[in-house]
């Protein structure tokens, strides 16, 4: 959980400084006073700043889940979430009857929701976290079809001896294709362009 230590000439000042840094309200934090500070003589000699430690009580995972549920509700999608946390990786499986709508064409909607969820998560997390949203094993199925696509296009490149550009994909999907063809004897892969239009090119070696 996020925590900051702040100083100020008074305890109140130190607290408001900390709240500003955390971008939080007083109800959302736990405050412990480390040093009440001392005014000192004439406010100059022997003065000591007040020091407070302020901890954000908001659970980033809960905020992320709430975000997904709220957004889905507005899209008329009832969703339940199973969460697995492994270090900085958060995996969330979304269970719903309207899987198609939630995933979208080539995972577009799911990917958009994933990147927004990641922002919400990292607004409150004290270390950078990476979230993966999944629904009905979409990620595994997508990985499998990207592998098949990669091998099919590699054959075509080899046969026709010319480069082939793929459609734009997010980085984790490009990685699947790079990895799949990394040891290929006859073709090489590289990416061109800027996200979100960055795409893979498969070329003869």
């Amino acid at each position: 959980m996020k925590q900051v230590t702040a100083t100020g000439s008074t305890v109140d000042e130190a607290i408001s400084q900390a709240l500003k840094e955390l971008n939080a309200k007083k109800e959302q934090v736990e405050i412990s006073i480390i040093d009440e500070g001392k005014k000192g003589l004439l406010g100059i000699f022997g003065s000591r700043p007040a020091i407070v430690k302020v901890t954000l009580k908001i659970d980033p995972i809960e905020e992320a889940k709430k975000f997904i549920i709220d957004v889905c509700k507005q899209m008329d999608i009832d969703v339940q979430i199973e969460t697995e946390i492994d270090g900085r990786q958060v995996y969330m499986n979304l269970i719903t009857e309207k899987v198609g709508l939630l995933i979208g064409k080539r995972g577009r909607t799911l990917n958009a929701l994933q990147s927004l969820t990641q922002l919400v998560l990292n607004k409150y997390a004290d270390q950078f976290m990476i979230v993966t949203l999944d629904a009905e094993n979409y990620r595994d199925r997508r990985e499998e079809s990207l592998r098949i696509l990669a091998n099919r296009l590699a054959k075509k490149v080899q046969r026709e001896r010319r480069e082939i550009s793929l459609e734009p994909m997010p980085s984790y999907e490009r990685r699947i294709i790079h990895t799949e063809l990394a040891d290929h004897e006859h073709v090489k892969t590289y990416s061109v362009g800027q996200d979100p239009n960055r795409h893979i090119v498969i070329a003869p070696k």
Binding site: E63, A112, Q194
Partner: protein, 77 residues
């Protein structure tokens, strides 16, 4: 639709109370105008418009199920 936009945007910004969405309807199209606190504009647009595009993707996929009209999202800055 306005509620959906607000639900997405409010948790992303530092000043949720300043999030406003207004719909402008013309023939065959609806444009949603999103305004946020000045210091939050970057937070809803993102690098190369990445965040804005993610918001649009979700909005459009829902809009398809609700209306035949073309839906647009404009971020006022």
């Amino acid at each position: 639709m306005e509620r959906l936009i607000e639900t997405i945007v409010k948790p992303l910004v530092d000043h949720p109370e300043d999030v406003q969405v207004e719909a402008r309807e013309e023939a065959g199209r609806i444009t949603y105008e999103l305004s946020v606190h000045e210091s939050d504009i970057g937070k809803v647009i993102g690098k190369q418009g990445r965040i804005a595009n993610a918001i649009r993707t979700i909005l459009y996929s829902y809009a398809h199920t609700r209306t035949d009209k073309k839906v647009y999202l404009e971020i006022l800055d």
